[in-house]
Every structure is written in structure tokens, then in C-alpha cells.
């Protein structure tokens, strides 16, 4: 589904990603871990198409199509979703209206008519229930005055509504207490199928107890330096990253 080959990207003259190789197939869950500043969020933003970053080398293929030149919305239309680490506040636009607009824009891109209002409402209610979201929450301005946990829950609610092929969760666990984490993780697991894929970016192993990865990648200084099974996450939690640094040097 997603094939990243020798990806170099950065801001102006500074390279942040220095040759990433990653392949994600349908039905898989990948975790990307790594110390602060290693390029995890940059990788997520580059896949989603943030214009601030220049891709200087390599390629990003999504379903065998090079998407490196596409606008963020075009990538979204193809089925890529990024759950933001820091969701942006948009005063004056309610959660409901925002998600309606997003859904209908996606449908428009596929040549479909707007979703009928009652169908939309039903779907919004279903998904909101799934994430134990209060009805009032839906009429509030998008992310405005939301707690950290509410923002993340709202991201996953949007994920559920848009039902993408590839979901990238950028530190979705930060700001969530244990109960909220469980709700969010259960929701994500319900959405999982053999047709979609999930990339989880996280510092901590605890989210991976709930969303169990098939692969764990360690990102350091703009490169994936180690890939292993889910047990690698426990090892990182226990031992930190220094030993990997040493190992990488030795190679």
C-alpha cells in the first residue's frame, strides 16, 4: 500500500529525513518509535503532504502511484489520514459542520453526490458513541478549548468518519489518560481490517499494548535503524535507545 524508498526531506537546507525505507501492506500495523527530534513527526507530515517540507530525494508510492507532488487534500482523497499530534483550533466551525464538509469534499473528489443529511447524522452519532463522545461536544467549535484528551479523541472520531486506507497516528496517546487511551485504542481496533493499514508513531509502549503492531521501527537521526517484532517495543521501553545507537554504529 505504502512504499517509501530512500526518502530524503527537510526544511530549506536542513535534511531531517535522511534515507527512509518503509513498506506498509494492507492489513498491517506498523509502529514507529524513536527519541525526540529523530524525525517521526516530519515523516508523518511528509507522507500527508505538508508543503513546508521539501522532498529532495527518493519516492513515496501509495498504491503504486507516486504521490510526492500531490496536495494534502489529494492525498486525503486517495485514502491517507493523519491524526495530528497538535490538532489546530478552528473557532466558529463546529465539529459536526467540519466533518460534514470533509466527508462531502472527499465524496466530491470521487465524483459522488453529497451524503444525504440523515445518513450523515446517523453516522456521526454512531461514531461519536463508539468513542464515548458527548453529544454537546459535536456542536462545539473545532478543537477550541478542548482538553488534550478531547482533541485526540476528536482526531480518532474524524478517522472513523473518513475511514481511510492508511491511518497515521502521530502521538495519539500523548495527553490521554488510561481510560481515554483504551477507548481510543478500542475504536482504532474496530476500524482495522485486512484492507487498511495503520502507522502508529509513539514514544511509549503503552499504546502498543492496545494497538498491537506487526512491526516496530526505530527512527534515529532521520533513518530507520532497526526493525523488529512487537517485542522490540518492550525492549525499548526497558533499555532506552542508547543500545540501538551503539548497534547502529557497529553496523
Amino acid at each position: 500500500m505504502l512504499q517509501i524508498k530512500n526518502l530524503h526531506a527537510g526544511v530549506e537546507e536542513t535534511d531531517i529525513l535522511k534515507g527512509i525505507n518503509l513498506e506498509v501492506k494492507a492489513g498491517e500495523v506498523h509502529a514507529i518509535m524513536g527519541p525526540n527530534g529523530s524525525g517521526k513527526s516530519t515523516l508523518a507530515s511528509v507522507i500527508a503532504g505538508k508543503e513546508e517540507f521539501d522532498v529532495t530525494e527518493g519516492s513515496i508510492l501509495f498504491e503504486a502511484e507516486d504521490i510526492a507532488e500531490l496536495a494534502p487534500e489529494e492525498r486525503a482523497h486517495k485514502g491517507i489520514f493523519l491524526s495530528f499530534q497538535y490538532p489546530v483550533e478552528i473557532p466558529g466551525v463546529s465539529v459536526t459542520n467540519f466533518i460534514k464538509t470533509a466527508i462531502n469534499e472527499n465524496r466530491k473528489a470521487k465524483g459522488l453526490e453529497d451524503m444525504p443529511a440523515n445518513e450523515m447524522l446517523k453516522m456521526i452519532r454512531e461514531k461519536a458513541e463508539m468513542f464515548e463522545m458527548d453529544r454537546k461536544f459535536l456542536s462545539r467549535s473545532l478543537n477550541e478549548g478542548f482538553s488534550g484528551g478531547e482533541k485526540k479523541r476528536n482526531e480518532i472520531f474524524q478517522l472513523a468518519m473518513l475511514d481511510p486506507k492508511l491511518a497515521i497516528l502521530d502521538e495519539t496517546d500523548s495527553g490521554l489518560d488510561i481510560d481515554a487511551l483504551r477507548v481510543v485504542a478500542n475504536g482504532v481496533n474496530k476500524l482495522k481490517s485486512d484492507k487498511n493499514a495503520i502507522v502508529v508513531i509513539t514514544h511509549y509502549q503503552r499504546l502498543l499494548d492496545h494497538i498491537v503492531p506487526d512491526f516496530v521501527h526505530v527512527l534515529m537521526d532521520g533513518k530507520i535503524v532497526k526493525t523488529g517484532p512487537k517485542e522490540l517495543a518492550y525492549e525499548l521501553e526497558e533499555r532506552g535507545y542508547d543500545w540501538i545507537k551503539e548497534e547502529a554504529k557497529a553496523v
Partner: protein
Amino acid sequence: MSLKDKLVSSYLAFEDYIDADSHIHDIRNSAIKSFEEAGFPTKKDEAWKYTSLNSVLKEDYCIFPKKDNTIEFKEVKKYFLHEIDTYKVVFIDGVYNSFLSETTHDKVDVCLMSSALTKPKYKAVIENYFNKVAKSDSMTSLNTAFAKEGAYICIPKHREVEKPIEIINFATGNEAALLLQPRNLIVAEENAHVQIIERHQSLTENAVLTNVVTEIFAEKNSSVDYYKVQNDNKTATLIDNTFISQKQGSNVSVHTFSFGGKLIRNNLNFYQKGERINSTLKGITIIEDKQHVDHSTLVNHIEPNCESHQDYKGIFAGNSTGVFNGRIIVEKEAQKTDAFQQNNNILIDDKATINSKPQLEIFADDVKCSHGCTIGQLDEDALFYLQSRGIAKKEAQALLMYAFASNVLESVKIPEVKARITKLIANKIGVKLGFNL
């Protein structure tokens, strides 16, 4: 002959023609003198530093248009707030049109300035209020000299007007260039409440210069909510001079929505003459091409324990220019004043300009005054966020612009006005938003 000369020389004939015995005869006479001495404002005047009338004044304006202009309701229906029942005071080329209007004398007076200025029963009100808060600057004086028509609204004590009042001035374009000088007087007596919507609309691309003066008197514990919808053709110029005198415990809000027109100058002046007064000044400006909108506000805090709240948002595209000159005076007696002023601007294109100038003159020592001014572009992170949800860049920009302006709409008390303005914003931004905002 310059426009100034033309105006001064037509004054005598005008005064003779309308009624030399009128009780405002002396006021008119001294006003024309003030105008003659001052002339039209130029960029040399500090208050007009960023706004030039040169391109506007070179037209050969007709000062006294023909009286027989009519228009069909269906041609102009869209300019009315037809979703709800309203009183309407409608003028066509400066002349009252009874067919399009719906006035009343039932408990409240919603009628015409021409009657108020001439009929004995209004004499006391006119003597009490007419030209009592308007300043004698040149544009206001010019209006005062030629004042004869406009809306006259007088709400007696403890009355609440049950429906909003629309004041609409249409220009037919039957004249190649037309000068209009409506004169409105609004009096809300003790504990009276009224909502007013004002708009000026040209029906063709012919030049129109409107120099309107509105005096608003809010007596003790009264409330006045005033909405100015400025969405005229790009050949129309509006100079709006609004003067508000507030008494103890009164609430007055003025919302100014400036989306259209060639050049708009809003002189909005609040005088707080009592305690526990609340004044609200809000505005949304969205312009493009070579449009120019200038907001010059004054809030004069004269007595203690009063508040003023100003919030102006501007979005400027193309070569458009905005001016925000917000002056707050807190006089020595006005202790415990709470004055807030904010002006936020977004420049969409490189050639768009905003001149923003807060002026705080504080002579009292126990006051809370704050002001803030920002000038920037749309937030790139917010744009990316929306785009990553599949919303196209153009729509995303529109959504952000709407979000930027939206908190100004929150204080709009008439839902239909709010809906109208929302639509105007969406149209102005050039995007059809897929939902009711």
C-alpha cells in the same frame, strides 16, 4: 466649477426652496459656513491621512436628483431582510418611497426626517436632539447644511420595537453621478429598545457618493443595536458619519460589515454621558481589487464605571487598502473605565495594505484599557490540517477566513442578519460553503 463651489453656490437656492423659516435654519446656515471654511478633507488632515477623496470628488455629481424615480419591489427584494417582518424606511435617489416602505406611528415613530423637520408635533424632539451630538467637521457640516430627508425613529419610554427597522437608500443610476446626503435621527427614550439595519445600494454602475449622518441618542437604560451592511457596487462611495450619545445604563452596539463599494469611510463616534454605559463597536471588512475601507472610531469615556468593547477584523486581497484608526479617550472623571480594543487583519495578497493605528488617551488613573493589533497571513498549520482532511485549499482558506471573522458575528442578535452576513462572507470569499455556518 469644483464640487465644493457647486455645493456652496447651490445652498442659497436650496434653503430658499425647502423652507427658510424652518427651525433648523440657523443650524444649516452655520453648517454651510463650516463646510465652506474647511472644504473637503484632504490627506493633509491628520484624520484623513490614509484616505484620499480625490478620485471620488472629480465626478460631476448631481445634487438635486429628479423626484419621480421608482423601482419595482422584485428588482430590489434581495436587498431587504425579507425573511422576517420589519419596518422599512426606503429612499430612492434620496426621495422617500412609500410603496416600498412600511412606517408606523403606532406607539413608536418610525417615519421621515422631512416630516420631523417641518411638522410642529416633532418640534420639541428636533430642538432637543437634532445636530446635538454631530460634530462640525467638514463632511458632517456638509450633510447638516443640506439635511432634509432620512429616517426619523423615536421610541418612547419603556417601549420595545417588536420588529427590526430597515433603513435602505437605493440609487437608481438615472443620474450619471449622484450625491446623496441622508440624515437619520434615532432617539431611544428611557428603557426603550430598538434594532436597526442600514444599507445603501446602487442599482447600476453609475457613480454615487453618499455622505450620510446618523445621530443616535440612547437615553437611560435604553438599548440600540445597529447593523450597517455595506456591500455596494464598486462605483459607490460611502462616507458614514455616526454619532452616538449614551446616557446612564444604556447599551449601544454598532456592527459594520464592509464588503463592497469603491471607498468607504466610517466615522463612528461614541460619547458616554452617564455611568454604567456599555458601548460595542464591531466590524468585519473583506475587500479586494482597489477597494478602500477606513474605520475611524472614537469612544469618549466621560463618566465613571463604563465599558467599551471594540473588535474589528479585516481581510484584504488584491490591491485593497484598509485603515483602522481607533481612538479611545478616558477623561479624568472616568474612573473604573473598562475599554477594550482589538483590530486583527489578514493580508491575502502582497499588494494589499492595512494601516492600523490605535490611539489611547487616558487621563484617569484607575482604568482598565487594553488594545491589540495584528497583521498577518492565514495560519499555514491550520491550512494543512484542513487540507489533510480532504478539504481543498481554496475551501480551507475560506473556512479559516470565516473562522477568523466569526467571533464578530457572535454578538449579532438578529439570526436572519447573521445568516445574511454569513452568506455575504461566503460569496465574498468566492466559495460555496457546504453547510449553514
